[in-house]
Symmetry: C2
Subunit: 245 residues, 2 copies
C-alpha cells in the first residue's frame, strides 16, 4: 500500500459537471419524458458557460439515449411511449426477419415478502414487500414467452391485475405514465434451460424442450435497479438478436 492517497477526482471538465446537473434535473423530474428541455442557449445562460460546452454535455446524454435531439425542434427527454422506442429492450425477433407482435396475457399480480435473491438485486432489505407479476406473451396465437416480474412495492404502490389488464402497450410505457418511472438501461444474463412441467404447460411444449432463460435487471436514473425479470423464450421460430461493436 502506498502512503500517497489517490485523488478523488483529479480533474473534472466543465461539460461533465453540466452533464451531472442536467442528469440531476432529469432524476428530479424537472423535465418529464417526452417533454423538451430548455434550448442550448438557455442552458448555457443558466449554467454560465458557452453553448459549445452545453452541446458536449447534451451530446453525451443523447449518446446514452437519455435525451433525443431533433433539429429545428429542440432536445427532448427520452420516453418509452415514442413510436419505435416501445420495444427498445426487446431483442427477440422472428427468424423470418419480420417484426414481432406479441399479445399480452397477465396471469397474476401478488404482493409478497421479497426472497433474499430478489431483494439483493433490487437493493432492498430481505423481506421488504415486492410485487410479482406473471404473464405469457403470444405471437400468432402461440405462447412464446413466459415471464415473472418483480417490482419494489414502495415505488409501485397499488398496482393490481386489473390495472395491468386495462393497459394495452409496453410495460415500460406503463411504468412511465402510471408510476413516473423511466427505464434507462438494463443488464441481461442468458442461459439455456430444459423446460419443466410448469413451463411445458404455459408454452405448450414438451417437458425437456430447450428454452432461452433471460434474467434482466432494469435501472432508472441514478443506476437505481427497479425491476427484475425472469423470462423464458421458446426459440423454435424466433431468436435473440445481438450486435457486437
Amino acid at each position: 500500500m502506498s502512503l500517497i492517497s489517490e485523488p478523488i477526482a483529479s480533474f473534472s471538465p466543465l461539460y461533465q459537471q453540466i452533464k451531472a446537473m442536467i442528469l440531476a434535473s432529469l432524476q428530479a423530474s424537472e423535465w418529464l419524458p417526452g417533454e423538451a428541455i430548455p434550448s442550448e442557449i438557455e442552458l448555457a445562460a443558466r449554467y454560465a458557460v458557452s453553448q459549445g460546452t452545453v452541446r458536449k454535455a447534451i451530446d453525451e446524454l443523447a449518446a446514452q439515449n437519455l435525451l433525443v435531439r431533433r433539429q429545428g425542434k429542440g432536445t427532448f427527454v427520452a420516453t418509452h411511449q415514442e413510436e419505435g422506442w416501445q420495444y427498445r429492450f426487446l431483442r427477440l425477433e422472428p427468424d423470418s426477419g419480420e417484426r414481432l407482435h406479441l399479445k399480452n396475457q397477465f396471469l397474476a399480480c401478488q404482493n409478497l415478502k421479497s426472497a433474499p435473491h430478489i431483494a439483493q438485486l433490487l437493493k432492498l432489505k430481505g423481506g421488504d414487500p415486492v410485487i410479482r407479476i406473471d404473464r405469457v406473451q403470444s405471437s400468432g396465437g402461440k405462447p412464446i414467452v413466459f415471464e415473472e416480474i418483480w417490482l419494489p412495492e414502495g415505488r409501485f404502490k397499488g398496482l393490481t391485475l386489473d390495472a395491468l389488464n386495462a393497459w394495452s402497450g409496453p410495460m415500460y410505457a406503463f411504468y412511465e405514465s402510471e408510476y413516473a418511472t423511466h427505464m434507462v438501461r438494463a443488464e441481461e444474463k442468458i442461459k439455456a434451460i430444459n423446460a419443466d412441467q410448469n413451463l411445458s404447460e404455459h408454452l405448450h411444449i414438451p417437458v425437456g424442450t430447450a428454452l432461452l432463460s433471460v434474467e434482466r435487471v432494469a435501472f432508472t436514473y441514478g443506476n437505481k435497479p427497479v425491476e427484475i425479470r425472469r423470462a423464458r423464450y421458446d426459440t423454435t421460430n424466433q431468436h435473440y438478436d445481438n450486435k457486437l461493436n
Copy 2:
C-alpha cells in the same frame, strides 16, 4: 410512385467526408492495427479543414471502436492484440463473476465447397471454396464451447491445422497478424437447442441437455462479412452477458 426523385445525399457535412476518407485509409491498410495515425493537426492540413472538424470525425470513429485515442500519445488503429481487447466479442462469463479463461483445442481444418447457406452469409457464390474449422474450448478441464468456423478461402489462403495449433491467443488476433484482417463488428443470433449425440460427446453432457446456440457473422472494414461461427455453449456454470442501453 412519385415523379420527384429522392436526393442521393441531401447534405453531407465536412466531417462526414473526412470520416469516410479516414475509413478508406484504414480499409486500404495505409495505417495498420496498433499503429498511430497522423496527428489531428497533420490530418487537418492534409484535408485542408480545421482541427475541430478532424476531431469530430475521429470522435465518431473512436465511438465505433475503429480508433483509440490516447491523450498525450496519439490516435491509434484499434487492434485485437491489445491487452483487454482480445475478448471484445466474447460475452460468455462465469456465474461467479470471475474472468473466464478458455483453453483451445482445434479438432479439424478442412477445405470445402461452401454450402448455399454459408455462401450467402459470406456473400460468396454457392460452391466457392471455404475453410471450416472445428474446435472445443475448455474451462478448468471441462469442455464448455463447441464451435464451427467458416472462412472464405480466398482471404485465408493456406490456413492449416498446424498453423492454428502453433498459435496461442485469440483467433481475431491471429487473423490480424497472419491475414491482415481486422474484425470491426459482429452480429449474433441466439437460440436454445437440445444437445444431440455429437454435442453430447464433445461437451461431455447427456443428450437432450439445453445448450445455447450462438450464430455469429463477423465483419471487417466496409461491412464485409469474413467469418461465420456456429457456437454451442454449455451454460451450466456460465452465462451470456448483455447490456441494453
